[in-house]
């Protein structure tokens, strides 16, 4: 039988070279795809930063609804084409999952109606956040330059009308614009907090789980303390202190101020503090999951096999352990974003989150809180509705994702 193999091998050396050449071509495709992807990111970033400041664009007149709808349609078409294009390349480039694993997960996900609705909500939110300047009927309420005092004073807290579809706020700003621009804060905060927390949690969890021993015990204790922290109370106390006290960090013997806490409090109208506090405190749930997952994966035979072929610890963690635990982390991050949105809303409602001038849903509820039981309840209702819908969206998506990724679920 080995004779047959040697002759087979001689004949197929050409085939082997062919396969290797194919892989190199795939590398070129990969590079092309990456360039296109980066270009699209750059374009999005440009749109986000510049267009949100000015509400009008050249020949497209953003005050006309027909033009706005046109822009949105162009966007969705571009996105759809991008996905189609990417999917075809995705398959070829990554050469992965040639069988239906990816599709299987996709199919399972699609069957979960709530999850699909969740995805739609998230996509809507993202579109709103990126194109807020284009979509909002009135210019950015967060920019003091856009505040027309006269107009505002005439339209304080108006109920929904033809000119203001969702009414106006207590300050005379258009509610719909406030909500659309508020989504930027919610998404930005949600993503940044969760990604930071995931980063911290994963690194700390990996160290604790992989090395064990006293390292593990110490970090566990720290984690317990962090978990036991009452979130809201912590921030409230922190903000209350920092409002009255100003701690200045300066280079010794000079007047050069590096950092002072008062400006931190006011940075981004109070949201910087929210970000810091949440990022510092929310890594605990991710840590626990990561640690648990690593502890179980660590004992698996393929880790031992990697050690048997000489792999060092770093290689084992990055190449063997982490790829196997990524699914639960992604699910946690998704669900965490919903939590962040809620927490930010609660803090702002209590007056300790977003401050005067910040455009966030929680802040909108704060400003309208006195009217909750009056005829002007829409001041509270609409922001509340936005919060509820986005939390539902993220939660459904996260649940659907978890069900789709779990290989053992049969239904």
């Amino acid at each position: 039988m080995s004779q047959a193999r040697t002759s087979r091998r001689a004949r197929s050396e050409r085939e082997l070279e062919e396969l290797v050449r194919r892989r190199r071509e795939n590398l070129k495709d990969k590079i092309k795809f990456a360039v296109v992807f980066v270009a699209i990111l750059v374009v999005f970033g440009w749109i986000y930063t510049t267009l949100n400041r000015e509400a009008t664009l050249g020949p497209i007149d953003m005050s006309l609804w027909s033009h706005r709808i046109l822009v949105v349609c162009i966007f969705f078409t571009a996105f759809y084409l991008f996905l189609k294009f990417a999917y075809r390349y995705f398959d070829r480039i990554f050469f992965k999952y040639k069988t239906n694993t990816w599709e299987l997960m996709f199919r399972r996900f699609k069957r979960n109606k709530a999850a699909v609705v969740g995805v739609l909500i998230i996509i809507t939110l993202s579109v709103m956040a990126v194109f807020a300047g284009l979509l909002a009927p009135y210019p950015d309420p967060g920019n003091p330059r856009n505040y027309d005092h006269e107009y505002a004073l005439q339209h304080l807290a108006e109920p929904p009308s033809r000119t203001h579809i969702l009414g106006t706020t207590r300050n005379g700003k258009d509610m719909l614009s406030v909500l659309i621009h508020g989504s930027r804060i919610s998404l930005a905060l949600g993503l940044s907090v969760e990604l930071t927390a995931a980063f911290i949690g994963t690194i700390v969890g990996s160290i604790a789980a992989y090395y064990g021993g006293w390292v593990d015990k110490v970090i566990n204790v720290i984690n317990d303390i962090v978990m036991a922290f009452p979130f809201l109370l912590f921030i409230i106390v922190l903000v209350a202190i920092l409002r009255d006290v100003n701690i200045v960090f300066a280079v010794p013997f000079t007047d050069f101020v590096l950092f002072d806490t008062q400006s931190l409090v006011q940075l981004w109208n109070g949201l910087a503090l929210v970000f810091l506090a949440l990022a510092v405190l929310s890594w605990s749930s991710i840590y626990r999951v990561v640690r648990g997952q690593i502890l179980s994966v660590k004992e698996m035979e393929f880790v031992e096999a990697a050690r048997a072929v000489g792999a060092k610890d770093r290689r084992i963690i990055i190449h063997h352990i982490l790829p196997n635990i990524i699914s639960p982390i992604i699910v946690l991050v998704t669900l965490g974003i919903a939590g962040v949105i809620l927490t930010e809303a609660s803090l702002s409602y209590l007056g300790f989150g977003a401050q005067e001038g910040a455009v966030s849903w929680g802040r909108a509820i704060f400003e309208g809180r006195q009217y909750a039981t009056t005829s002007k309840a829409f001041l509270v209702f609409f922001p509340g509705l936005a919060i509820v819908l986005s939390i539902l969206g993220f939660n459904s998506f996260g649940d659907g994702l978890r069900d789709a990724l779990d290989p053992r679920m049969k239904r």
């Binding site: 039988m1 193999r5 082997l16 393929f302 050690r307 790829p323």
Partner: protein, 333 residues
């Protein structure tokens, strides 16, 4: 001139104890004596079988020899080109160098392959780490190995879950022989496979051994497979070797009661032969507190009083045939 050391691997008095701490307050340490003074040799291009039931320590021996576990004491002498190294003493960099000479095939093909890495990644790993191969040379070598174990080169980009048990085990074998090791530990490589697939894998292993001039340490609980694959055999019970020798001789003329019991318990696919079972009473005792004297005396149908007080020494019952029993010349009916 005859070489001073004929064997590829010489294991001398290997011990592996696992410490477990009992009790919260007083923290007394007890030891699980998984491997308790085991010695054997493996010759060049030969196969030694390590047989025993669960808990006898054979898996631990396999893993300790290639330093997936660190031995408590003892020597593991590897002879290569007139140079002898004690694997037990090696530190990190030298140990990694040593890994080019010894590899392992695991029992469960499902859990020994990383489900998130392609077949190509799994087989390439030893080549990258231990031989520093890169680029096109690496790819070609991976595809060659796949062919050697009877898989298609197209399979390189697939994931483990897309294969059957037998195919996965072939991938494991490919990974093990990638760096052309002199010694391969086979830890129950076919125990989780169907009978027909087992035959394919065993044939493959024999063929690869002939082609690549490797030595095998074949660990199994299945005596028929051992008979088929090995030149010599060592029978383990509760961390010690009870009997060792040439395979034909041990199977024909087993001197240790445990070996006899094992041989007679195997259900034989021949309804004509009604075997006389030597039925052992009781179960395998705990490795934390092994029985005094001869470890087998609690279940041995021929035990005498000396067996519970004194540990037997090793008697030689023929060319290379060792027995650890007080009565190596006992006649069995």
């Amino acid at each position: 001139m005859k070489q001073v050391n004929d064997s590829l691997l010489k294991v001398v008095d290997l011990k592996k104890y696992f410490s477990i701490a009992k009790g919260m307050v007083r923290r007394e340490i007890t030891y699980v004596r998984a491997v308790d003074e085991v010695s054997f040799d493996i010759d060049h291009e030969k196969t030694l079988g390590l047989v025993g039931e669960s808990g006898c320590g054979k898996t631990t021996v396999g893993r300790t020899i290639i330093r997936l576990l660190d031995p408590t004491s003892g020597q593991i002498l590897f002879s290569d080109d007139h140079q002898q190294t004690d694997i037990a003493q090696l530190k990190s960099r030298q140990l990694r160098e040593m890994r080019r000479n010894m590899q392992i095939v695991f029992q469960d093909p499902q859990s020994s392959l990383n489900p998130r890495r392609t077949v190509r990644d799994t087989i390439a790993e030893p080549l990258q780490i231990l031989e520093g191969l890169k680029g096109e040379r690496l790819e070609i070598r991976v595809l060659e190995l796949l062919e050697d174990v009877g898989l298609n080169p197209e399979h390189a980009q697939r994931y483990p879950h897309e294969f059957s048990g037998g195919q996965r085990q072939r991938i494991g074998v490919a990974r093990a022989i990638a760096v052309n090791p002199k010694l391969v530990i086979l830890d129950e490589p076919t125990s989780s496979l169907d009978v027909s697939v087992q035959a394919q894998i065993l044939n493959l292993l024999l063929e690869l051994q002939r082609e690549h001039h490797m030595s095998y340490l074949f660990i199994s609980h299945d005596l028929s497979v051992i008979r088929h694959m090995c030149d010599r055999v060592a029978v383990m019970y509760l961390g010690q070797i009870m009997e060792a020798g040439d395979i034909k001789e041990v199977f024909r003329d087993a001197r240790h009661p445990y070996t006899r019991a094992l041989l007679s318990s195997i259900p034989v696919p021949d309804p004509g032969k009604k075997r006389q079972h030597i039925i052992l009473e009781g179960t395998v005792p705990n490795a934390i507190n092994p029985p005094s004297g001869c470890r087998f005396h609690t279940r041995c149908p021929f035990a005498k009083s000396i067996c519970s007080t004194q540990e037997p020494r090793e008697y030689t019952a023929g060319q290379g045939h060792r027995v650890k029993c007080h009565f190596p010349d006992l006649q069995f009916d």
